[in-house]
C-alpha cells in the first residue's frame, strides 16, 4: 500500500515554558516491508538537535525549543510504501542482542495471572506458539478504551479484563517472556479502512523474536500480524521506552496535549479528489 500520514501533536502549556526538549522516534523503520517516499517532521520554533540511528535500528532525532514558549506543535507528514510480510521484520538492521529483551520492566512484569495465562498454551513450534499466545492475550483482554491509562501494567490490564493496544502489547511481551521468548514493544501507525475493522491509528503492537526467522510482529488488538496497513516507527522494552515522542518542558506548569492523525490510502486519494 501507499500510505499517507498527517500527524499533528500540539502541546499547550498554561504558563510559558522556559524551554522544551524532545527526543523523537518518528521516522518509519527501514526494512523490506517499508519504503519511505517522502517524510518530514517539523517542530514549531524548534531547533534540530542530535541525530543518530541507535542499535535497535531506530532513527532518533533530538529537538529543542527555546522559551518562553506556550505552545509547541509537532507535525509529521509523509508517504510510505508498505508490503505485507506477515509481520516478519525482514531486512531490518539492528545490533541489540535479542536476549536483552528478556528483561522485565514495570509494565511488562508477569504476575501469577500472566504466568497462568502463558503456561498452558500449547503449539507445535515457536511461530505457532506466538500466534497462540497472541490469541490468548486477545481473548483475556477485551478491547475497550477509557478504562486503562498510560501507566497501567500488563498485570493490571489482565485483571481488569479490558484495555487498549498498549495493554495488549505489554501483556503479550510478558507472556512471551514467561515462555522464554524475547518480546518488545513497537509503536507505529495503522491505516483503518472504511469498514472500520481496525482501530487506533496511533497504534502499538508487540514483536517476538523467533530463532531463524528474526523479529515477528503480533497485534493482539486486531488479532493479526502487521501487514501493509501498518507503519512501524520504533521499538523498546515497553510503551515508555518505545514512545515516538518523549519530551520535557522546564517550567510551563500544566501541559495539555492534542493529537490529530490521519492515515490515508494515497493510491485512492486522487480518485476521491475527482469525486468531489
Amino acid at each position: 500500500m501507499r500510505l499517507k500520514v498527517d500527524h499533528v501533536t500540539r502541546y499547550v502549556y498554561d504558563q510559558p515554558a522556559r524551554s522544551v526538549v524532545q527526543s523523537h522516534r518518528l521516522c518509519p523503520s527501514v526494512f523490506a516491508g517499508q519504503k519511505l517516499v517522502e517524510w518530514d517532521v517539523t517542530v514549531s520554533g524548534g531547533q534540530k538537535g542530535a541525530s543518530f540511528r541507535d542499535a535497535a535500528g531506530d532513527l532518533v532525532q533530538g529537538w529543542t525549543v527555546a522559551g518562553p514558549v506556550s505552545e509547541v506543535t509537532v507535525r509529521v507528514q509523509g508517504v510510505v510504501e508498505t508490503d505485507d510480510l506477515s509481520g516478519v521484520l525482514r531486512g531490518h538492521r539492528e545490533t541489540v542482542p535479542p536476549e536483552a529483551y528478556l528483561r522485565a520492566t514495570v509494565p511488562t512484569r508477569a504476575d501469577t495471572a500472566l504466568h497462568a495465562l502463558a503456561q498452558p498454551v500449547e503449539a507445535e513450534d515457536t511461530l505457532a506458539l506466538d500466534h497462540a499466545l497472541s490469541k490468548a492475550v486477545a481473548d483475556a483482554i477485551a478491547y475497550q478504551p477509557g478504562v486503562t491509562h498510560a501507566h497501567t501494567t500488563a498485570a493490571e490490564a489482565l485483571s481488569l479484563g479490558v484495555g487498549v493496544c498498549q495493554d495488549h502489547a505489554h501483556a503479550l511481551i510478558a507472556v512471551a517472556r514467561v515462555r522464554g521468548l524475547p518480546g518488545r514493544y513497537v509503536s507505529g501507525y495503522l491505516f483503518s479502512d472504511a469498514s472500520g475493522a481496525a482501530h487506533e491509528a496511533a497504534h502499538a503492537w508487540a514483536e517476538i523474536y523467533i530463532a531463524g526467522l528474526g523479529w515477528v510482529g503480533f497485534d493482539p488488538a486486531n488479532r493479526c500480524c502487521p501487514d501493509a496497513r501498518y507503519i512501524r516507527l520504533g521499538s523498546g522494552f515497553d510503551a515508555q521506552d518505545a514512545a515516538p515522542i518523549r519530551g520535557v518542558a522546564r517550567g510551563g506548569g500544566q501541559e495539555d496535549l492534542d493529537v490529530t492523525l490521519a492515515i490515508l490510502d494515497d493510491a485512492q486519494t486522487p480518485t476521491q479528489r475527482q469525486n468531489q
Binding site: 542530535a50 543518530f52 542499535a55 532518533v60 533530538g62 536483552a100 518523549r246 520535557v248 522546564r250
Partner: protein, 463 residues
C-alpha cells in the same frame, strides 16, 4: 608489618617515629588531626554507605607503607585489570565476542540490570567506558594480593587519599623529610588530563570539563567540590546544564558555554529523564541524545556499571586472558556463585566459614561474615540464600594482612584493605597511593566505615 619477629623493611623507619612519640603527644596529634578533618569538612561516609553525613570517619595516623617493589607489582596488576574491563565494555556493547566465544554467559550480561540497551553500539572516545577504576585490594601474604571488587562507575573516596596525605604532611613534616615517599598530589592534574583526553572528536578547541554533582546533600559532595577546585573546572548541578541543538551548554554569567566532558558523580538512572528515570530532577533532559550522537563525553560512560557487578567480577581473569592475551597479575578471591547448583550446595554446606555478599549490594550491608556470626545469624542468612540463590556470592574468609595502628594501649595490628584509583583515558595512570581503610575493632575483618572502619594515609616508598 612484622615478618616473624622483625619489622618488615618498609616500616623500619616508623619504629623510631613511634618510639619517640609519648602517649600524650600522640593524643594531642590525634585531636589535631580530627580538628583538621572537621575544619575542611570531610565528614562524609566513604563510598556512599549512608549513615550520618556529619559523622567524622576515624583517621589513624599510622601510615600504611608499600615498598617500591611491592607497588610496582600492584600497579601492573591494576592497570592490566582496568584495560581488560574497558575492553570488555566496548565488546559487550559491540559485537559481544567474549559471549560468542562462550567465555562469559550471555544471560549474565544482557539480562543484567546495569546493561544499558540505550548505549549498545556506542564506542566512547578512545574506547573508554570506565575512566576512573577503583580496584579494592586485600593482602593475605608478603607476595599475595587479591582483588575484592572493581568499581567502574564513579568510585569515591579519593579525597581521603588526598586529605590524609595533606594532614600527615602538615602534622609530621619530619616524616616526609626522612622518608622518600611518592607524592599523590598529582592526582587532580592527571584526572583533568584524562578527562580532557576523552573529549569528543567534534570538540573544536580546548575541551571544557565539568563535574556534575547531585548537590550539596549528597554524602560525597565534599569530594566533588574538592576535585573541581583542584582541577580548576566548574562544579555543576543538572539545572546548570542544558541541551540546545546538538550540544550541551553550561549557564555562566557571560552566557552559555559549550561543555565537552562531563565527569558525573550521578548514577545512570538519574542523568537524563528523557532516557532513563522520568522522575529525575537531577539530570539534563536530552543529554543522552547528545551523548549518543557524539556531541559530549560522559565519564564514566553510561552502561559502565555492568562491568563491576559482583557476578561479572568472577569473569575478570577470563577477560584479561581473552582481550589482552596475558595471565592475570592480581588474583580474584575464589568466589562461589550461589546461582549455580554445585556452588550453592558447597556454600550452604560451609556457610559458617564463608563470607557471603549480595550481588548488587555494597557498603558491608547485607553481608554475612560466617566465622564472626552467631548461629542464628548464619541460619537467617541460609534462609535468605535459599530464597534467592542468584542474588548471592560467597568467598572464603581471607587471612587479611594487618598493619600497625594506633589503639588506646599503643600500637596494635588491625586489618586493612586498599583502593587505588586508576585513571583511563588516552593513557593509563595510577597515582602511587590510594585509600587504606582499616577495621579499628580488634580482630574485625570489615573495614567499611559504617561498620566501625577508619582511614589511613597510604605511602609508596621511592626506590
Amino acid at each position: 608489618m612484622y615478618q616473624g619477629t622483625s619489622v618488615r623493611p618498609p616500616y623500619a623507619r616508623l619504629e623510631d617515629w613511634v618510639a619517640a612519640m609519648p602517649q600524650e603527644l600522640r593524643h594531642l596529634k590525634q585531636a589535631e588531626a580530627e580538628a583538621l578533618f572537621r575544619r575542611i569538612g570531610i565528614t562524609f561516609a566513604v563510598y556512599g554507605e549512608g549513615g550520618d553525613p556529619d559523622r567524622l570517619i576515624p583517621f589513624d595516623m599510622f601510615p600504611r607503607v608499600f615498598a617500591a617493589r611491592e607497588w610496582a607489582k600492584l600497579e601492573k596488576g591494576i592497570k592490566q585489570r582496568a584495560r581488560a574491563l574497558n575492553a570488555f565494555l566496548v565488546d559487550i556493547y559491540g559485537r559481544g565476542e567474549i559471549i560468542r566465544a562462550g567465555r562469559v554467559p550471555s544471560r549474565l550480561i544482557y539480562q543484567n540490570e546495569a546493561y544499558e540497551k540505550a548505549v549498545a553500539g556506542i564506542v566512547p572516545a578512545k574506547g573508554v567506558y570506565a575512566h576512573i577504576v577503583g580496584v579494592d585490594i586485600v593482602r593475605t601474604g608478603p607476595e599475595e594480593f587479591f582483588v575484592l571488587e572493581d568499581n567502574c562507575r564513579t568510585p569515591s573516596g579519593v579525597s581521603y587519599m588526598l586529605e590524609s596525605r595533606e594532614i600527615m604532611m602538615r602534622m609530621f613534616p619530619g616524616l616526609f623529610r626522612e622518608n622518600r615517599i611518592e607524592p599523590v598530589d598529582g592526582y587532580s592534574e592527571k584526572l583533568r588530563r584524562t578527562l580532557e583526553s576523552v573529549a569528543p572528536k567534534q570538540c573544536p578547541g580546548d575541551p571544557t570539563v565539568v563535574i556534575l554533582t547531585p548537590g550539596h546533600f549528597n554524602s560525597a559532595y565534599y569530594e566533588h567540590s574538592l576535585l573541581a577546585d583542584l582541577m580548576g573546572v566548574e562544579l555543576v548541578e543538572g539545572q546548570d546544564l542544558f541541551v540546545e541543538g546538538a550540544h550541551v551548554w553550561m549557564r555562566t554569567t557571560e552566557g552559555p558555554r559549550r561543555v565537552d566532558v562531563i565527569y558525573r558523580r550521578l548514577d545512570d538512572a538519574y542523568i537524563d529523564p528523557l532516557c532513563f528515570r522520568r522522575d529525575s530532577m537531577l539530570g539534563i533532559p536530552g543529554l543522552m541524545d547528545v551523548y549518543r550522537a557524539g556531541g559530549v563525553s560522559i565519564c564514566s560512560a553510561p552502561g559502565a556499571g555492568v562491568a563491576d557487578d559482583k557476578a561479572v567480577y568472577c569473569h575478570v581473569p577470563e577477560m584479561i586472558r581473552f582481550y589482552l592475551g596475558e595471565e592475570p597479575i592480581l588474583q580474584n578471591v575464589p568466589t562461589w556463585q550461589c546461582g549455580k547448583a554445585d556452588d550453592l550446595r558447597y556454600v550452604l554446606d560451609q556457610l559458617p566459614d564463608l563470607v557471603v555478599k549480595e550481588v548488587h549490594g555494597s557498603g558491608g550491608y547485607g553481608m554475612l561474615v560466617g566465622p564472626k556470626a552467631s548461629r542464628e545469624e548464619v541460619e537467617r542468612f541460609r534462609a535468605k540464600i535459599v530464597e534467592d540463590p542468584g542474588n548471592y556470592i560467597a568467598q572464603p574468609t581471607l587471612a587479611l594482612s594487618s598493619v600497625p595502628t594506633f589503639v588506646e594501649e599503643g600500637v596494635a595490628p588491625r586489618h586493612v584493605d586498599l583502593r587505588p584509583y586508576c585513571l583511563v583515558g588516552e593513557t593509563i595512570e595510577l597515582v602511587p597511593g590510594g585509600l587504606t581503610r582499616v577495621a579499628l575493632t580488634e580482630g574485625s575483618l570489615v573495614v567499611n566505615s559504617s561498620q566501625g572502619g577508619g582511614v589511613k594515609d597510604t605511602w609508596v616508598l621511592a626506590e
